[in-house]
């Protein structure tokens, strides 16, 4: 059954708009769901409402069919992982991990075994007696994860758990967290503003904006078929070209390519923006070399007015600003969204 969120509204005193404005969401047993959205979109508020840390202005949070209204935080049996871990500085690593077991009155021997098991699972075997102040940022988050998992939460809530870490560590931890969650069969909701992180960790990704949940879908499907222009824009689609059938062609970050030199001048007007359509002339504004590829910024009119776009220029030497290049749409990097 898992988690059911029904028409939930979260409202802060003095705020003009609802932080969460009527959200419905289901998370199946053992599933990992990511909530993706810009900061201030209400994703953290929704998470805190599920945990019982924010009161609901309206709606219901149910788990395994039971309404959680009136069940206080500490009796929900959920786990929560914060951005900075929030370890208890006055307890060592082992006693931090054991905390949830102590509140559940787990016998000492079992507690010790469980702590060892979890520190092992997060790659920190033997760290029991270390003071938490001596740990690096990544180690702290691993301890926080072990602490959250120790009491076997029915649902683990992760609130931007890696935002305070540097990029390389973040990417590594995202993979590890998925492994640990899957290994423990833990149901989880993961809040983040980082697309790569959401797509790495989650089985399904929900996109939130201004308190509303716009779309929930598996990563591949979300990317291939954004439900709306807003979702596509948030995912990084850079231009929207009207199509003959009334929909919009969304041009993704890799949806535009500079034609190799000597491939000929663009043809006639044709159907603008149709994948495979003849190339269009574009004027180069600048170029950058990122992640092993040349990306050029161009100004071009794909059929929705002249605007700045980024095109991949594989096999093309970076052209000087002001020169004209031919650009074509790559169907693999584009999607169709309703207008």
């Amino acid at each position: 059954m898992g988690l059911e969120v029904r028409d939930v509204v979260v409202r802060y005193a003095g705020a003009t708009a609802d932080a969460v404005a009527g959200v419905d969401l289901d998370v199946a047993d053992g599933e990992i769901l990511a909530l993706l959205g810009p900061s201030g979109c209400g994703k953290s508020s929704l998470l805190r409402a599920v945990a019982g840390l924010e009161p609901l202005a309206r709606g219901q949070v149910r788990y395994d069919g039971a309404d959680l209204a009136g069940v206080p935080v500490h009796r929900r049996g959920f786990g929560l992982l914060f951005q900075e871990g929030q370890l208890f500085a006055h307890r060592d690593v082992g006693r931090n991990v054991a905390y949830g077991l102590e509140t559940a009155r787990v016998p000492r021997a079992e507690r010790t075994a469980r702590v060892r098991e979890l520190l092992d699972a997060v790659g920190l075997a033997g760290y029991e007696r270390r003071p938490v102040t001596t740990l690096s940022g990544g180690e702290r988050q691993r301890v926080a994860l072990a602490r959250a998992l120790a009491p076997r939460p029915r649902l683990l809530l992760l609130d931007e758990p890696f935002s305070a870490l540097d990029r390389g560590l973040r990417e590594r931890l995202a993979v590890e967290v998925r492994e640990v969650l899957k290994a423990t069969g833990t149901t989880a909701v993961f809040v983040t503003h980082d697309h790569d992180e959401a797509f790495t960790v989650a089985d399904r990704v929900g996109v939130m904006q201004a308190g509303r949940l716009l779309q929930v879908a598996p990563p591949e499907e979300l990317w291939r078929r954004p439900a709306s222009r807003a979702v596509a824009r948030f995912l990084g689609y850079q231009a929207f070209v009207p199509r003959a059938d009334g929909g919009l062609l969304a041009v993704g970050p890799t949806g535009l390519r500079a034609a190799p030199e000597g491939s000929g001048a663009p043809g006639g007007p044709g159907e603008p923006g149709e994948p495979g359509a003849p190339a269009t002339w574009a004027e180069v504004v600048g170029s950058a070399f990122r992640r092993g590829r040349t990306e050029i910024t161009v100004e071009a009119d794909l059929g929705s007015g002249r605007r700045r776009l980024v095109a991949l220029a594989d096999g093309v030497s970076a052209p000087a600003p002001g020169t004209k290049v031919a650009v074509t749409l790559d169907p693999a990097g584009c999607a169709v969204v309703p207008d």
Binding site: V73, R75, F88, A183
Partner: protein, 591 residues
């Protein structure tokens, strides 16, 4: 094997079994425990302060405006306000407070810079030394400066005995640490990059200091100055010992009108007048503090101290000013006190004065021996500390919360302001109020005045704000998510208090206990009113000895002052050790 059969293996790292927790319904007991607990946490301090602070002070205020037969009567007010003597006293009080705060701020700023913005060997020793005066009993400070300024004293040639200047110097001595610690605490964490940016934009060091650093420090300076103003305006022990005959303030006048002329009516009018002045100062301090909490966002987490560079102009000047201040203003009087205490009444050197502490003084100046008074002091202070820590700890706990409902948030803010009042209302006023209200409180047939409980209660009232100010910053600094993390891990609200708040607060509680004990030990204003001769405390005995003729009594006063100072310093040192390093500049003498 996991009953769910969902045992999986994380790649090469061993398996973690999963048997999900289930939600437990909330018991009936749990539903009432929280409101009941918080209700008690609010009711106990409010009841205590209401009965032992608000009521006596209110009764006192009423005394000034009601005639003997109970009708409203403003003739007393008119009489007091039209007397030139009143306005001379008001002038002296304000003059003394302004001079004291200006002096403390001018000397305190270089001190704050040196002790919080630079590092040098022995810095922590100097920091500790600077704190000593603040916790020293006022009577001891008075005696120390008196022995310095009197003819034949080390600074006798300055002819400052029984002058305005002598009182102001002693007040600056007292409050120097308030400025150093309050301003230093903020300065230490001030992001140096703002000043560096100003320098890079072409500002000279002086200009960068005046246009960037000083405005950033302004809230802390204003807050410290207001508190010092308050302490100076209500100073009692120092003025009584040092001021001599022609000198007085509203505070000493209240005491004299009550104890010597039994003129309760005009004394209470003066109390009201003083309350007005103090409320104004507290209001300014509160506003400055609010702005400072606002300004905290500009701070960096790490401290920005550099090694002391004596050749650098700024560092050199701060070093020179602070060295002169610490040696001349802090060390000299204390050293002088200790040295003079070994001077025998016959003019030689020896332990005679300390031996005499076992007697009741020359010509039976006292009813009890000084050692007996010390015993009374310790017992009283211990009782007062227990009360102050319980009440102050509860207040700090309640005030550290940020309730969701706006009305509750307002109420918490109000409580925060109300418990600070005893800091400002003069101890003499409190003691006086006790005298007129607690003979048969609430119609009960007990006279608290003779029960011996009155003195510790009065001392506790004075100590409560200090306990609150010591514990509160530490509780407030706890990230709310730490409590949430514990809650999500299954800890009930009560358990969160025990496992998160308590261990962190305990470290500051040690300091709070020390503070409360030291303040109670040295409390003079209210105690002078309430202590009977046979149960006099050490400060009261010292004051009495100073007032009696005879070299023998004077020598005993010096020796007793040294004993009291040593005792207070020891208590504070123990407390500082207890608090650990976490409390940073937030605790102790910062308001």
């Amino acid at each position: 094997m996991d009953p769910d059969g969902r045992r999986l293996t994380a790649q090469g790292r061993g398996a973690v079994a999963s048997a999900p927790r289930s939600a437990a319904p909330r018991g009936a007991a749990g539903r009432w425990a929280a409101p009941l607990g918080w209700g008690l946490a609010v009711a106990v301090p409010l009841g205590f302060l209401g009965l032992f602070f608000a009521w006596p002070v209110a009764a006192l205020v009423a005394r000034g405006f009601v005639s003997d037969v109970g009708a409203p009567d403003l003739s007393g007010v008119q009489e007091v306000l039209s007397a030139p003597r009143t306005w001379r006293l008001v002038g002296q009080t304000l003059g003394q407070a302004v001079a004291g705060s200006v002096g403390a701020v001018l000397l305190g700023l270089p001190g704050a810079y040196l002790l919080y913005r630079t590092t040098f060997p022995g810095r922590s020793v100097v920091r500790g030394l600077v704190t000593v005066p603040f916790v020293l009993p006022t009577v001891v400070v008075g005696v120390a400066f008196k022995s310095l300024f009197q003819p034949g004293g080390m600074l006798g040639w300055m002819q400052l005995e029984e002058t305005f200047a002598a009182v102001v110097v002693a007040l600056v001595f007292f409050n120097y640490s308030v400025v150093v610690r309050t301003v230093g605490g903020l300065w230490e964490r001030l992001d140096p990059r703002a000043e560096q940016a100003a320098r890079a934009l072409g500002a000279s060091p002086v200009r960068a200091f005046c246009t960037v650093t000083l405005p950033a420090l302004a809230p802390a300076i204003a807050s410290a100055a207001a508190v010092v103003f308050l302490f100076c305006a209500t100073a009692f022990g120092v003025v009584m010992v040092l001021g001599g005959i022609g000198y007085g303030t509203i505070e000493t006048e209240i005491y004299q009108r009550t104890t010597q002329f039994l003129d309760l009516r005009s004394a209470s009018v003066l109390s009201v007048l003083q309350l007005l002045v103090i409320t104004l100062a507290l209001w300014v301090a509160g506003r400055a503090r609010a702005r400072r909490e606002h300004a905290l966002h500009l701070e960096s987490d790490r401290t920005a101290a550099h090694r002391l560079r004596p050749r650098d102009l700024a560092d050199g000047a701060a070093l020179a000013v602070t060295a002169v201040t610490v040696v001349g203003l802090l060390v000299l009087p204390l050293a002088g006190l200790v040295v003079r205490s070994f001077r025998t009444p016959t003019g030689g050197w020896g332990l005679d004065n300390y031996v005499a502490l076992g007697t009741t003084g020359g010509r039976n100046a006292l009813v009890v021996t000084v050692w007996e008074a010390l015993g009374t002091s310790l017992r009283t202070a211990a009782l007062a500390t227990v009360m102050a820590v319980v009440v102050g700890g509860l207040v700090a706990l309640v005030v550290s919360r940020r309730p969701r409902a706006r009305a509750a948030r307002r109420a918490v803010g109000l409580l925060d302001a109300v418990v600070m009042l005893p800091l400002g209302v003069s101890a003499v006023t409190v003691g006086f109020g006790f005298l007129i209200t607690l003979d048969r409180p609430l119609g009960l047939d007990v006279d608290l005045r003779t029960s011996g409980l009155l003195v510790p209660i009065a001392q506790a009232v004075v100590a409560v704000p200090l306990v609150v100010r010591t514990v509160l910053p530490v509780l407030r600094a706890i990230d709310p998510r730490l409590r949430e993390a514990a809650g999500v891990l299954g800890a009930s609200p009560g358990r969160v208090l025990r496992d998160v708040d308590l261990p962190i607060a305990l470290r500051s509680l040690g300091l709070a206990v020390g503070f409360a004990f030291a303040v109670s030990l040295g409390e003079f204003g209210a105690t002078a009113f309430l202590a009977r001769p046979d149960s006099a405390t050490l400060p009261v005995v010292i004051y009495r000895l100073i007032g009696r003729p005879g070299a023998e009594n004077y020598g005993m006063a010096l020796a007793a002052s040294v004993v009291l100072a040593l005792l207070t310093a020891t208590v504070m040192m123990l407390a500082e050790r207890l608090r650990g390093d976490r409390a940073s500049g937030a605790a102790g003498g910062e308001f």
